[in-house]
């Protein structure tokens, strides 16, 4: 893991304006001056309660929403200033995997069509058969067979769909992967499979992960850097040890206080056994 920052958010602000009646307007600040760096090859965890602004921030980083002010720099280039082909090239470098049960897959498109589309848009590979080979290879790397290409997402279990979604994101060879609650919708026994896959892929390809989650166990397992968000701001940042052992902010303490242990001798809630 190198120390250069591959992705930088610089004072990003997102303000939503709503009209209340004819004359009044109300402002809601979803993201309030957020800055951070992601080091190449590292895993950064973005934690916070719902409403803290982490989802909005993710959309901004991906270029799916324009911030009110501030900038996002990828390898030094401003994401917001790019258009057309340059923007497309940049999009290729940053991909996303969502948590919804279909894992960002279009339910009426076969897996093959989805993968081929990704390759086609970015003109990767010469011709159909080379693209197909790449798709098959990518599926193999996530542990899925070539037959997967012909099938529809709903024919697979949640864990398999998540793996397919990861394959679709990785087939365009991104450098940064944003993962929105990648294991929350998965069964317990499947979570470890997906996490192992993610760490393995990260080592192989020197991927940078931004992990958005409220699952502090996963954060403890995987994160190199933890960012705690509350009410649109980053209220604490640091290593896993620093943030989880010596929390400085109220928000962090709240999150840690709600952590449930699986060890009977370490119960946190008011035990009345």
């Amino acid at each position: 893991m190198s120390t250069e920052a591959i992705l930088r958010a610089v004072d990003v602000r997102q303000v939503f304006v709503q009209r209340q009646g004819l004359l009044r307007k109300s402002e809601m600040v979803a993201v309030d001056g957020v800055s951070f760096n992601l080091a190449k090859g590292s895993t950064t965890a973005l934690v916070g309660e719902s409403g803290s602004g982490k989802t909005t921030l993710a959309l901004i980083l991906l270029g799916l929403r324009r911030p009110t002010s501030g900038d996002v720099l990828f390898e030094g280039n401003s994401l917001l200033r790019l258009r057309g082909r340059d923007q497309l090239a940049l999009r290729r470098k940053m991909q996303v995997v969502f948590q919804d049960p279909y894992g960002s897959l279009q339910p009426r498109m076969t897996v093959g069509e989805a993968l081929m589309e990704a390759l086609q848009v970015h003109s990767i590979g010469q011709g159909r058969s080379e693209r197909q080979d790449r798709a098959v290879e990518q599926l193999r790397q996530v542990g899925m067979s070539p037959e997967t290409l012909k099938r529809y997402p709903h024919e697979f279990s949640g864990g398999q769909r998540q793996r397919i979604a990861i394959a679709r994101s990785l087939v365009v060879e991104p450098s940064v992967l944003i993962l929105d609650e990648p294991t929350s919708a998965l069964d317990m026994s499947v979570q470890s499979q997906v996490l192992n896959l993610l760490t393995e892929l990260q080592e192989q390809r020197e991927l940078t992960y931004l992990l958005i989650t409220h699952n502090l166990d996963v954060v403890g397992y995987m994160a190199d850097q933890v960012l705690v968000m509350d009410k649109g701001q980053i209220v604490e940042r640091g290593s896993v040890e620093a943030v989880m052992d010596t929390p400085q902010s109220e928000a962090t303490r709240r999150l840690l206080g709600s952590l449930l242990s699986v060890n009977p001798s370490e119960r946190r809630l008011a035990a009345s056994h």
Binding site: V190, N196, G220, Y221, V240, S258, N263, P264, R267
Partner: protein, 332 residues
């Protein structure tokens, strides 16, 4: 605190008719829920835990699902023998239920107050006056500040945590002795989850209720339950007090679930994985349903279905943990 048995389930079997065949979603499940104690039914998708709860409440999707065998006794009366009308009288009065999605369990077109009063009127009898006060008290019990204001609100005006509190208030409106909670905190934010679990625990203590908690989260089990039943593909594979089962799981499946959990302790290491996948509803293995994925599998495991056997501190369904008597004799 009395620990009488409120709910007694024995050998419950619920089968699902699908175009591809019959799925034995609940296959021989038995447990007790006692007053003042919480039993957690924990399992992954396809384990049958939700189906078990629906069977008890008799809210199964008919005609596809049917209870083919077993008894579900509430206060000694078998619920499966009751008519629909009798069942309706029990629901809400003796048995309260809360579900996973408070947004869809509450009617979006009626105010909170309306729905709460509806619950009170339904079982409460003729006391028309004073119901308003009753409603306010219920909301206070679930720790809602400004209950009068909340009574006038619609579900969509409240946060997820508030809605869940309202649902708990409605479920407890008629002081049931048994509360069935189906994934009550899964859809909630992690900080709210802790608050709701504490609330349920507190209310349980105050009213000496028995709680049947359905969940997929081992952390929830540990922090809220007194007893736990681990389900896999329609059967309970291990059951006993939480302290015993979670500190030293006996069944290979339970052990594997624990071992595969991500945590700080595992940093930098590959997580242990249960080999294979949870089979689809029509691909269940014969005999012991876990045997293809079990590190301790023996020949007998794919031939003979393990029965529930009683150990000093729990029950398990496993040939390895509790070998068949004939096998044990052979070894000697």
């Amino acid at each position: 605190m009395s620990e009488e048995t409120l709910l007694s389930v024995r050998d419950l079997r619920t089968y699902l008719d699908t175009p591809e065949g019959v799925v034995k979603a609940v296959d021989g499940v038995g447990f007790d829920v006692r007053a003042g104690r919480t039993l957690a039914l924990v399992g992954e998708s396809g384990s049958g835990k939700s189906m078990t709860a629906l069977s008890i409440m008799q809210l199964l999707p008919e005609p596809a699902a049917r209870i083919v065998e077993g008894s579900v006794k509430l206060d000694g009366r078998d619920l499966l023998d009751l008519t629909a009308k009798q069942m309706r009288e029990l629901r809400g009065k003796r048995m309260g239920m809360i579900f996973q999605e408070p947004m869809t369990s509450l009617n979006p077109t009626f105010t909170v107050g309306y729905q709460l009063l509806e619950a009170l009127k339904c079982h409460g009898g003729a006391r028309r006056s004073g119901l308003g006060q009753e409603a306010v008290k219920l909301l206070q019990e679930v720790e809602i500040r400004e209950p009068e204001a909340v009574l006038r609100k619609y579900p969509h005006e409240l946060s997820g945590g508030m809605r869940q509190r309202v649902m708990i208030a409605i479920a407890l409106a008629n002081r049931p002795s048994l509360l069935i909670a189906d994934e009550p905190t899964t859809a909630l934010d992690v900080t709210i989850q802790a608050q709701i679990l504490r609330l349920i625990k507190r209310l349980q203590g105050e009213h000496n209720m028995g709680v049947l908690l359905i969940t997929h989260d081992l952390g929830v089990v540990n922090e809220t339950a007194d007893d736990v039943a681990v389900m896999y593909l329609g059967q309970i594979v291990e059951q006993g007090p939480v302290d015993a089962v979670l500190s030293a799981p006996a069944h290979p499946y339970t052990q594997a679930l624990f071992a595969s959990r991500a945590s700080r302790e595992h940093r930098g290491r590959v997580l242990p994985v249960i080999p294979g996948n949870v089979p689809g509803p029509h691909d269940w293995p014969p005999a012991c349903r876990f045997h293809p994925r079990c590190p301790f599998r023996m020949d007998v495991c794919e031939k003979v279905t393990p029965e529930v056997s009683h150990l000093p501190d729990r029950t398990v369904r496993c040939h390895f943990v509790s070998p068949l008597e004939e096998e044990a004799k052979l070894e000697h």
